[in-house]
Assembly symmetry: D2
Homo-oligomer: 396 residues x 4
Amino acid sequence: MNQQNPVFIPGPTNVPESLRKAVDMPTMDHRSAAFSDILHPALQGVKQVLKTREAEMFLFPASGTGGWEAAITNTLSPGDKVLAARNGVFSHRWIDLCQRHGLEVEIVDTPWGTGIPAARFAEILAADGSHGIKAVLATHNETATGVCSSIAAVREALDASRHPALLLVDGVSSIGSIDFRMDEWGVDVAVTGSQKGFMLPSGLAIAAFSPRARAAVESAKLPRTFFDIRDMAESYAGNGYPYTPSVGLLNGLKCATEMLLAEGLDNVFARHRRIADGVRAAVGAWGLELCAKSPDLYSDTVSAICTPEGFDAGRIVSHAATVYDVAFGAGLGEVAGKVFRIGHLGSLSDVMALSGIATAEMCMADLGLDVRLGSGVAAAQDVYRAGADPQRMAAQ
Amino acid sequence: MNQQNPVFIPGPTNVPESLRKAVDMPTMDHRSAAFSDILHPALQGVKQVLKTREAEMFLFPASGTGGWEAAITNTLSPGDKVLAARNGVFSHRWIDLCQRHGLEVEIVDTPWGTGIPAARFAEILAADGSHGIKAVLATHNETATGVCSSIAAVREALDASRHPALLLVDGVSSIGSIDFRMDEWGVDVAVTGSQKGFMLPSGLAIAAFSPRARAAVESAKLPRTFFDIRDMAESYAGNGYPYTPSVGLLNGLKCATEMLLAEGLDNVFARHRRIADGVRAAVGAWGLELCAKSPDLYSDTVSAICTPEGFDAGRIVSHAATVYDVAFGAGLGEVAGKVFRIGHLGSLSDVMALSGIATAEMCMADLGLDVRLGSGVAAAQDVYRAGADPQRMAAQ
Amino acid sequence: MNQQNPVFIPGPTNVPESLRKAVDMPTMDHRSAAFSDILHPALQGVKQVLKTREAEMFLFPASGTGGWEAAITNTLSPGDKVLAARNGVFSHRWIDLCQRHGLEVEIVDTPWGTGIPAARFAEILAADGSHGIKAVLATHNETATGVCSSIAAVREALDASRHPALLLVDGVSSIGSIDFRMDEWGVDVAVTGSQKGFMLPSGLAIAAFSPRARAAVESAKLPRTFFDIRDMAESYAGNGYPYTPSVGLLNGLKCATEMLLAEGLDNVFARHRRIADGVRAAVGAWGLELCAKSPDLYSDTVSAICTPEGFDAGRIVSHAATVYDVAFGAGLGEVAGKVFRIGHLGSLSDVMALSGIATAEMCMADLGLDVRLGSGVAAAQDVYRAGADPQRMAAQ
Amino acid sequence: MNQQNPVFIPGPTNVPESLRKAVDMPTMDHRSAAFSDILHPALQGVKQVLKTREAEMFLFPASGTGGWEAAITNTLSPGDKVLAARNGVFSHRWIDLCQRHGLEVEIVDTPWGTGIPAARFAEILAADGSHGIKAVLATHNETATGVCSSIAAVREALDASRHPALLLVDGVSSIGSIDFRMDEWGVDVAVTGSQKGFMLPSGLAIAAFSPRARAAVESAKLPRTFFDIRDMAESYAGNGYPYTPSVGLLNGLKCATEMLLAEGLDNVFARHRRIADGVRAAVGAWGLELCAKSPDLYSDTVSAICTPEGFDAGRIVSHAATVYDVAFGAGLGEVAGKVFRIGHLGSLSDVMALSGIATAEMCMADLGLDVRLGSGVAAAQDVYRAGADPQRMAAQ
């Protein structure tokens, strides 16, 4: 595998040089004062990225799945009822995790390619006068289908019936790349990982708890130790960690948040929007459609692209890997074989994106799809040219 | 903090140059074939280090604490009874974790500085005719006190009464540095982390399950998803991973096991023995005593050194950090303030060890302890000279 | 500057991950035996890349310019006459260096964009019955114009009149990327650097001396010490170096030659040919012309592309750098403002090349040139698809 | 070779983590504006380290030997007479270089272990009424013997007879570690390398030219191109470089000077003094003597230690390398076999120094020398304890 081509999987993302170096630290004593100078800025930086003043941040040496587990075990008890939509592999997996932990999940099955049905949620919550539903689970960005749902709408569904259920949000493939407003949206637990918008290797689960979620921890009866936020909170207060931390990744997270905040969150989001617009323009030029059913659902971090009926989309992914040393995402679950995915999140430039689009084009042509070479690239170039900073243009 | 001095904490250990580079990988697609070429050699390498042919290996993106949780949640059910000795902070914490997961722990309180009381275990197990005890927990090497217990003796205690309880062993600070014979000792679950004998950064929990432990997973009712070995096993079989893996650390683990096996496990253990002998000789020369009560308990990975009555041992640790940029381990729990610890595991050379010993000497002298400068170093040098490979000597 | 976009300058080239790590070594004692295990394989590897059995290799901590200086100071004396063509900036600079060292240069001024005029050389050499010309200088690949000349033809020109002049060849931007046959072509001194076909950072001048060139060193009167190959030869024989070597770069060179030989030199050359063909196809699709006047002169490592009359080609280079964070080469010397250059040598993949072509397209469009977006990319894709390994295609 | 032990050769020195990372850069376009942001701060930083406001800095991709060559070829002409003392291998080599470049060297042979005989220089210069001597060469710190001479005294020797000869100084193993006052001492050319006080890998020759030296360049007739400071000066003025620069090393130099200036030059020199004092105390405790004849000559960067008559000092060096994986410096030239050298310059901590001293002790004992284990360490510890920052002590 040529290690110089960028990857176009929807995470882990390409790691910028400076973050590679931030993570690659010599061993330091995590019980020393120096650790505190890494931990607290990392926590503070994540808070700013999540746009929250109220929530507390917790950083586990784990993956996003661990973050999901932390979200429910710290807030719920066996037998508790939660409400969730199933519209892709990742929402499916979170539901599965809840069931395996003894929760009762009211599943709203939703066509893949569509978003969280907030209106249906509102009905269900309104009907739940006894407040049997303890939490609503929402996958902000379904990585499997490239669908970004409105969390604000889910909050409205809760507020409409003044329902007290906690709002637990999977922001794994959105946070850091797509606007996320924890406080404004009344999110109670937000979960993400180091390997997406934070542009780091995998290995950190990031979970943010609102004061309400934080308060729920005392009555939550699901067993937990590794993921217990109380141990974390107590340790952080003493500038420590409840077990051995992944110091390099924490240092990377500190630097990643500095990088994002230095670029400016709005600029980061606009860059992701522009790059995604280019990919979508390419998809249109190829005569193909996204799995996401409507523009309001289009994800700025990953595009799941439907291939023609009867064609195995997985062949594009394996062909790209084998022949061109380029990694795309395969379709997962219900859409396996029907879509291939271009990840366009994290540290990606327009120029890198163009090489991914050009490669997808070659693969489709190699495999006999009716795609004109250069067509998608040209459509994306149009977007990227328009997106090139006019101030810098003027400075020429 | 001068990043060039070695650390002398009992883990994370000094990371060798080649492993730094093995971990620091550019992003690769963990769903590609290349991932399999990392995962399977890593699993196979760990098996060899554990001296097991029968057990299955599981690698979680977590810390050793996560490994403990994996050990119990995959084999036990709420209300199950387990037997454990409490003879240091880490055995204490594992017991606490069990209790928080709803297990009933029969605790044998054991003086810190002594080992697992195998005879007492034998009595308890013999008396447990109904086999109410489902598992025996054993901390191979108590990092807090520098005590290495005999796991073979615990196995004998079980065998004496043909007790079917599972034997779960915490080998976090022993495996890879001290001989560990999973099959010979009949260990059912062995737990360790990446950051000790494997000389890597923290971030991987390593858990090995014997066929019996593997069979127990179906009836084990403790909730788990992140740590469920069934998902792991199924994914490994398909050359995959149940969620996003820490690819760099897995690659590091592959290389670390290659490194250990290339040196030869017996040579690795002999090196740790020699370095530890040097440290112990120094302690003797200083007129101090180890926390470990007798030579058969001395740990080859960490020495907890008792300071004189009335002296706060923590001052040595903070003085070394502040004045000499050297990290030692503080006393934890019951022995806080009474001992300081010199970690001597992982990738350490005699030469590096001498600088730690020399620093400890300066600190003790600075703080008014009656220690003659050079005395500990000289004692250790005697050991290290004798330990210098006579074949290489001859080759001069 | 986004550090994740590839560079498209004609060297230094993109450094592969594995070579980055090979160069980034901790300090080692260059007077130890371990140094010999780096030096000699590096020397041996370079020999194989140069296709010579007879020549001796010398590795200086310097740039290619230092290599030129080593070539002449070790073989010539003040007042000696040399023959050289001037058809680009780099041949011009080598001539200048000769003049500053007191050599008399018979310059054959040659239109930029054309190659070494071997027929004219033959005439001059034939007319030089007294053998006043001591050396013929030849720039194999003119980096400024993207012209690759035939060294075999220069050798024939010498042989035609049995002229004994030494043949000194600048292979800086060819060796390692374009076929170079030192023995077959009768090259007496070949010069290159670490930062082109060897894919390393700059910092090593590589000079190969044939037995005849090696013999000339005793009578050569140009002063030299730093570049004296006699000191080098004597030190190498003792596994040493005459002064402090750049150990990391030497280790990188060892690894780079292993990498090239593992890929297979023919495969390396074919890859460069294919990538260059794609770039040239793009240039054709843009309706532009290369500076190189005819296909037999086209360089497989760099394309100098003529922009329309009246347009300042340098604007493309600065625009690409400022707006798209991509580095192209500017026109130098006579062709400054008239051409821009795309370097396509070293560790480059088709996919990376496509992103360079796509960027050049956007720049030209941004700056008002009549270039259709996607046109060059499509033309290159056609080449790269055909070039995709059919065996791997079949393996799908 | 264990890559974790520090090296104790008198350069290249141990490279700090941050400088390793500064040097290990991805490829950038050295013709871009970003290069200027590396080059000029590096030049400026070196100026401050040299304590000069007037001199111009030149940075060549070469070793210190290249710096010597730059010093003479830019200021002198064939047949010019220079005055030099020969008191070690490095002064010897510089003299040899001059002779090979056609200079007439008036050599003052001086016993190895003693310094530059300034009084004898004064006599010779006073006697040179015709000012036939064009330059005086001075080796500030003889790395072979561990002798640091007074450059101020050489300047006085020149001033005493108002002799206009240029003062060319080899500061390779002093600059950055020992005080160097270019302007105050009236140094005309100062030469050093990247791999000593600047703590970087080898690969940069650093040469500083006073206005007088700078003026001499026009009349200097020694041939040069690679080392011609005029090309350098012209290129620097245009934010460029006359050929391909070693960008990573230049970036490392920028960071190294920032590091030195942040620590404070006086603190850097005091640290070297303290560490050297410790080594010298150890030598005394061993009952051995330095090659340097008197305390005013003791070098703070390297100690050459005389072993007893009849003992081959080289055995210590090879024994340390083979048995303990530690690199010391061998004796060179006249003192080969008579001394071994401990380098203590660059990025070294007291703690690292102690491991070197402890290793030397073990080697000497292993090889039968009458050295008491721990004796040298204890003597050095005494120095390092006293040297430990009392303010930090107080802060405990």
